[in-house]
Amino acid sequence: MPPDYSLPAMEVVRALIRRKAKNLRLLGVPVLGMCADLLIGARCVAEVESSAVSLGEAGLAPRFTEAAEKGEIKIRDATCPAVHSALQASEKGVPFMPLRGVLGSDLLKHRDDWKVVNNPLNSATDPILLVPAIQPDVALFHARWADHAGNVWIGRRRELATLAHAARETFVTYEEKRSGDMLEDELLAPGLISSTYISATAKAVRGAWPLGIPEVYDIDDAHLARYAQAAKTREGFERYLDEFVWSKKKNSLPA
């Protein structure tokens, strides 16, 4: 899943909570935000692998923080380029990728799947980290457009393309359907993920709300601040779910 600033599929997150999904393992590409906090608070999540979980300017992700402090979820701490590199390894069909930096970090002590080796192409001492390929079961995000050929347009959010290339299955909600085939449009093609990688798409108008899509609708800062405040307590979080997830009212339309 992408973080709050990179086309999150919030409508699907709400649907997963309503379906009482259990034991999800979330991967942050490379970090997570409100989507993860909602799923964790609704007890849908067993494990989180991410470089961070935060609500950005709205502060800590309260349900993640409490679940982590109480030991209710397993956390595999990562660092952003390790996630990107691990997905790129899957994208290329190779077992691992080397990555500079990281060597002095305690992250290594908690990641027995990461290995430090000497650069095999250099006879001098040159330690380097190897991170194993990550192949997510499912990639899930929201796109501005889908077309009749099954392509989706994510613009500059190319980490979503890498994610889709690496994942076994990719499910995408979209804001608007375009007719025809965007691959035939030279201006749109560089922002596409081709249908080769897409398992299924579904229309979800304002599907990222209360998060945003650049130039379509902005992040609803007031709502995010309200969530951050409400979710500080379990009771406040439950009330938030009652109002915006469990109720059938059209919660994703503009106020």
């Binding site: 490379p30 970090v31 300017e57 800590l60 992700a61 590199s85 970090s105 800062d221």
Partner: protein
């Protein structure tokens, strides 16, 4: 210094970088998480690829804890969980000039030893709400460089949990009239787009 990158949740470094750019328009600033006009076209890995090649000269890192060895902790302390390490474990050792910053200057934050090393490296400096420290790479120890107006060297010592050297401590120069005009004008307007809450708190 040609290319300054500013990470997530960093309104103060972003403000400083934009002020520097007002005075040196050839300075390239890449601010992550801009709501519009994000500086990258290759997705969020591009910053790390740039840094890996040496194309980022300056980066800023904060910490829930920062210790006397210049290690930072973004993961957990005293039973509390923080968001996580973000890209710090990679960027700190890879970027040539990493500036550590934290507005809160207290023994809670500036500790002898962090509980979890998110990242370690050799910083260019450590800047807090009270003071500026230089890093002595050979001794692996901070040196108090200057104290901000309204604070004293004794107060800094009192509120710092790690040992550091201090001789000939100066007062941090206040921003000039021209700098203040830039900060409250062009810089404030730009910052408000990405950090509306911060801009309201500081400038309104």
């Amino acid at each position: 210094m040609r290319h300054v990158a500013v990470g997530a949740a960093s309104p103060i470094p972003a403000t400083g970088a934009l002020l520097a750019q007002q005075k040196n328009p050839s300075l390239r600033i890449s601010r992550l998480h801009r709501r519009r006009g994000n500086p990258f076209s290759e997705g969020s890995r591009e910053l790390f690829d740039l840094a890996g090649q040496g194309r980022i000269d300056v980066f800023f890192l904060g910490g829930a804890q920062i210790d006397g060895e210049a290690s930072i902790n973004l993961v957990r302390a005293e039973g509390r969980r923080f968001p996580g390490s973000f890209g710090s474990a990679y960027l700190y050792p890879v970027v040539p000039r990493t500036i550590l910053f934290r507005e809160e200057h207290s023994k809670r934050v500036l500790v002898p030893k962090v509980e979890f090393v998110s990242a370690r490296g050799d910083p260019a400096a450590l800047l807090t709400g009270k003071a500026l420290f230089a890093w002595q790479k050979d001794k692996r120890r901070f040196r108090l460089e200057s104290v901000h107006p309204g604070h004293s060297a004794a107060e800094v010592r009192e509120n710092t949990g790690f040992g550091y050297d201090a001789d000939g401590v100066a007062e941090t120069p206040s921003p000039s009239k021209d700098d203040l005009l830039l900060l409250r004008g062009a810089v404030a307007r730009e910052i408000a787009r990405d950090y509306p809450e911060f801009a309201r708190r500081v400038w309104s």
